[in-house]
């Protein structure tokens, strides 16, 4: 029996036992986030740390008398022991409900129907992965990174009869290849091989493509003075930029509560470029369409189009608070499956259109520097190049930028590539994340670099 099936069966049995213990007027949602993963960390193309994790996390949301308490815990897989633990928390929740103040924005727990997705996959045998690493070590490749692979399950039930689940077998190898340039400086190229079906030939093709970029990184780095430059942001760099929209950007609650970087856009003080179109598109099938309440999000939802915000993300709780219609966003009101529309800049024309400027493959450590003007800072990282007259001249010494999203995706956005890349999530805080983005590259004129 697959681990996912075992976790699913435990969850269903536990749900039935807990819901049968509820009293009149009480309602509850249970959510499961389970994984069975191998995490394999590499340094210098060798194994630094290997960790297998099997974890089963249950979240319970208990509502009664217009009040809400939320608990979560690690399950043991023993139905009897887990039931006793959850029932003890149910008793505690009942005690808390008696003394907590009423929550006027509570969303009722309702049956939003069934929704199930199962995405089986083929993972690599670890000895095969190790053998491949041995091959690249012999080729003197210096690789650091993380392989994560295994099964993931997300499931939701509630006391009104709702049952939804999403399972996926998948893997990623998120890696960097390092080299020394002629001046003795460390330079690197970043790669990501990810998917649901491991293919050794495809993996070698990915590695070959990445390794082919190393020789140019061996040439002397160019030091650039702070100033404004034309910039091409690769899809991976754009992925980082799009991430800023989920950090107090597209959340309606953040907008109303003074935390949104898009406030001036919402208020009509600025417009974005018509070339920039952003939507939530669950057609990527990388993450569940249901949220923590079991509400099923539309397959697609336009976020930004024609220079304006079409929709902010609105959870049911926010909708109640502000008397508006929600769109089944999750409580964090962050993008779960963002897709940026491609444009018409052909890959072969990127350097020619860039002319003289910077080709940025990756960004690092982005953070708001003036949130209410959508201004943020960050660093260039990995294979970033100085381009002159459409020709790559040299890798650069890393630079710090400080610029506004309103500029990057507004007046300065010149072109968007005609191909978008799917970039799977590699987050592993607490648990391995589901999800990903699909984004193209962008050409921007006049990005401000400061250090």
């Amino acid at each position: 029996m697959k681990t996912t099936d075992t976790h699913r069966d435990l969850f269903q049995a536990l749900s039935n036992k807990i819901y049968s213990s509820l009293h009149q007027g009480e309602s509850m949602t249970l959510q499961l986030a389970a994984e069975h993963q191998d995490y394999l960390r590499f340094n210098q193309t060798r194994v630094r740390q290997m960790t297998q994790v099997e974890q089963i996390r249950l979240s319970m949301r208990f509502q009664s008398e217009g009040r809400r308490v939320a608990f979560s815990l690690d399950l043991t897989s023993d139905l009897h022991a887990d039931t006793r633990s959850v029932l003890s928390l149910l008793e505690r929740a009942r005690e808390e409900i008696k003394v907590l103040p009423e929550d006027p924005f509570l969303s009722p727990i309702e049956n939003h129907g069934e929704h199930h997705e199962d995405h089986p996959g083929t993972l690599p045998p670890l000895p095969e992965l190790l053998e491949a690493m041995g091959f690249y070590e012999k080729k003197k490749l210096d690789l650091a990174g993380l392989y994560a692979g295994g099964s993931l399950l997300r499931a939701t039930t509630n006391s009104q009869g709702l049952y939804q689940s999403f399972s996926s077998d998948s893997f990623f190898l998120d890696y960097s290849l390092f080299t020394l340039n002629v001046a003795g400086e460390n330079k690197a190229v970043k790669g990501l091989y990810a998917g649901r079906s491991w293919s050794t030939p495809a993996f070698h093709e990915e590695m070959t493509t990445s390794a082919a970029q190393l020789p140019v990184l061996g040439t002397p780095s160019k030091r650039l003075e702070p100033g404004r430059y034309r910039v091409f942001f690769s899809p991976k760099a754009v992925d980082a930029l799009i991430g800023m929209f989920s950090w107090g950007g597209v959340s309606y609650a953040a907008y109303r509560q003074g935390e949104s970087a898009l406030q001036k856009l919402m208020d009509g003080e600025v417009r974005l470029s018509p070339h920039f179109r952003l939507e939530e598109d669950f057609g990527l099938s990388l993450t569940p369409r249901f949220n923590s309440l079991g509400e099923i999000t539309p397959t697609s939802l336009p976020i930004i189009a024609d220079g304006e915000v079409e929709n902010l993300l609105i959870s049911s709780r926010t909708a109640r608070e502000y008397g508006i219609t929600g769109n089944h966003a999750d409580s964090a009101e962050a993008l779960r499956s963002p897709v940026m529309a491609p444009g018409n800049l052909a890959s072969e024309d990127i350097l020619r259109r860039l002319g003289t400027g910077l080709y940025l493959s990756n960004l690092h450590y982005l953070n708001w520097s003036d949130r209410f003007n959508a201004r943020f800072t960050g660093m260039t990282r990995y294979a970033c190049f100085w381009v002159e007259d459409g020709q790559i001249v040299a890798p650069i010494k890393d630079l710090r930028f400080d610029e506004s999203l309103f500029t990057l995706f507004g007046s300065a956005l010149e072109a968007v590539t005609d191909r978008a890349e799917i970039i799977m999530a590699t987050d592993t805080y607490n648990q391995r994340a589901l999800g990903g983005t699909k984004v193209p590259g962008i050409l921007v004129d006049g990005v401000r670099f400061t250090l």
């Binding site: 194994v47 290997m50 939320a70 690690d74 993380l146 390092f178 982005l366 708001w368 800072t377």
Partner: protein, 509 residues
């Protein structure tokens, strides 16, 4: 502004039964588990076996704009098993604590250790897991059984009323976290360590809007106020009064001038020094970064192994310690997660880099001295080199004296923004509030104060270190690092400090 809480106006007044029930102490029915029996069961499955059992409760309680926002808790419970075979340690984490579950996890780890040993990065040994026996119980203070949930909830709501000094305050938030952590580490080589920590965190913040401007202000920044101990960290009379001050400052920032764009003298308060120490001293000194383990995620370090004992990191006024013994600081402990006894050590002495932040594995790999900082974020992650309490030792300057030394400068408080490059050199940080200093005195507040610099030149610009009266200990529960990623608690104690000729800048005009 609301008045004091009364039984009539308090929305939390108890609706029947014992007015004190329930208390803040949650006692769920934890699954039974006997770590010593479990070790006996699994210890023959490899050349050497370790078992780290973790049980942790984290409560989060918050209110926003006079209403409850979150009331919840997470209960973490599981083991991390370590197996050493052929010079490689592999790990398996599981919350299935049945005999079958433990054996399955141990055998999986043993199999992986054997498989990985052929491609291991270095040869591990039990020298990196010293035999230690002991217990540590951090300061507990007044613990959760002494206070009713309703009382805490009432205080949080009252704080949001106090923060909302005007209708221009669109968001007023009060939040606490209450944490109890137990770790029991046992090994087949005789280690038997039990450690318990009791911790609290608090955040009180206001966001003001008006005239096309939005500004935030909080008590010391959003995550800084965290420490070990109990509810004595919450002097509610003092906190409620402080919340009014926070609300007033958020309002005042709406009308303040932007921080200028120029190079001038900079005084950082202790609640910003924590971030400066964390990013530009703590991370670059981590030995696993220097070894390259972190190159694919958090990054490398500009520090080379040969820099220890040689590199003048900053001004001779600079003394930095790794101090797991600091009473009440957020990351105090007696042993790290590999069993190494934790002691206070100088990392930087009179500006000279003398020691790195690395546990026994990194120390053996590099042949350098380190500290006991091999730590994990929970039962489901393997230990790696982490910061714990990294402190800048107090100097002799009073705050007034430092201000008087400044002809034109800014005093910045409370971190708002942070970004630094992947080798920890070029940084840019922002604060919630700035105070312009002109001719030796503070004249007016400034909004959007930011500064940028490069690590070593910046620390060489350190011109005065505040005395104990300017010091405080803060921390964060959110230090991120590792593959797979781990969020861990760190503490930073520091006085206020004066830096000369720093590039500062403000927001858009």
């Amino acid at each position: 502004m609301s008045g004091p809480i009364t039984m009539e106006s308090n929305p939390l007044s108890y609706r029947g039964g014992n007015v004190n029930a329930p208390s803040l102490l949650i006692t769920p029915h934890w699954p039974g588990f006997e770590p010593e029996k479990a070790l006996n069961l699994i210890q023959k499955e490899a050349e050497w076996v370790g078992l780290r059992w973790v049980r942790e409760t984290t409560q989060r309680r918050s209110a926003r704009n006079g209403l409850p926002e979150n009331n919840g808790a997470h209960f973490s419970f599981g083991v991390m098993i370590e197996t050493l075979i052929d010079g490689h340690i592999a790990y398996a984490g599981t919350s299935d604590l049945s005999d079958q579950g433990l054996l399955r996890a141990t055998q999986a780890a043993a199999l992986k250790a054997k498989e990985m040993a052929t491609r291991k990065a270095y040869a591990a040994s039990i020298k990196e897991r010293p035999t230690s026996v002991g217990r540590y119980e951090g300061p507990k203070g007044r613990w959760l059984d002494t206070e009713a949930l309703a009382t805490l909830s009432g205080h949080l709501i009252e704080c949001t009323h106090r923060l909302k000094v005007s209708e221009a305050i669109v968001t007023a938030v009060a939040e606490v976290s209450l944490i109890e952590s137990e770790v029991w580490y046992l090994t087949s080589s005789g280690t038997n360590l039990q450690q318990r920590q009791f911790m609290t965190g608090q955040h009180f913040g206001a966001i003001a809007q008006g005239s096309g401007e939005t500004q935030q202000r909080s008590l010391n920044g959003p995550t800084a106020r965290c420490q070990q101990g109990g509810l004595e960290a919450f002097d509610w009379d003092q906190l409620e009064a402080a919340c009014e001050g926070v609300g007033e400052q958020a309002l005042a920032l709406l009308k303040a001038d932007n921080c200028p764009n120029e190079s001038l003298d900079l005084i950082l308060a202790a609640d910003q020094m924590l971030l400066q120490i964390h990013e530009s001293i703590g991370h670059p000194l981590e030995l696993d970064r220097i070894l390259g383990d972190e190159r694919n995620y958090a990054g490398w370090s500009f520090i080379k192994p040969s820099d220890f004992g040689v590199l003048q990191y900053g001004s001779p006024l600079m003394n930095v310690t790794f101090d797991p013994t600091y009473p009440g600081e957020f990351a105090s402990y007696r042993f790290d997660d590999g069993g190494a006894p934790a002691t206070r050590e100088f990392l930087i002495q009179e500006g000279l880099l003398v020691r790195g932040l690395g546990g026994l594995e990194s120390q053996h790999r590099l042949g350098l001295q380190g500290v006991a900082n091999f730590r994990s974020s929970g039962w489901n992650r393997a230990p790696i080199d982490r910061m714990a309490n990294i402190n800048l030792e107090p100097g002799h300057s009073r705050l007034e004296d430092m201000i008087q030394q400044v002809e034109r400068g800014i005093l910045m408080e409370a971190n708002r923004s942070w970004s630094i490059d992947d080798v920890r050199k070029k940084f840019q940080f922002g604060c919630e509030i700035g105070h312009l200093i002109e001719d030796g005195r503070m004249t007016r507040i400034l909004k959007n104060p930011n500064y940028r610099g490069v690590t070593v030149p910046f620390w060489h610009a350190l011109a005065a270190v505040g005395d104990l009266s300017t010091s405080n200990h803060f921390g964060t529960p959110y230090c991120g690092k590792g593959e797979p990623q781990q969020m861990i608690r760190v503490g930073h104690a520091s006085p206020a400090c004066l830096f000369r000729d720093i590039e500062v800048f403000g927001g858009a005009s």
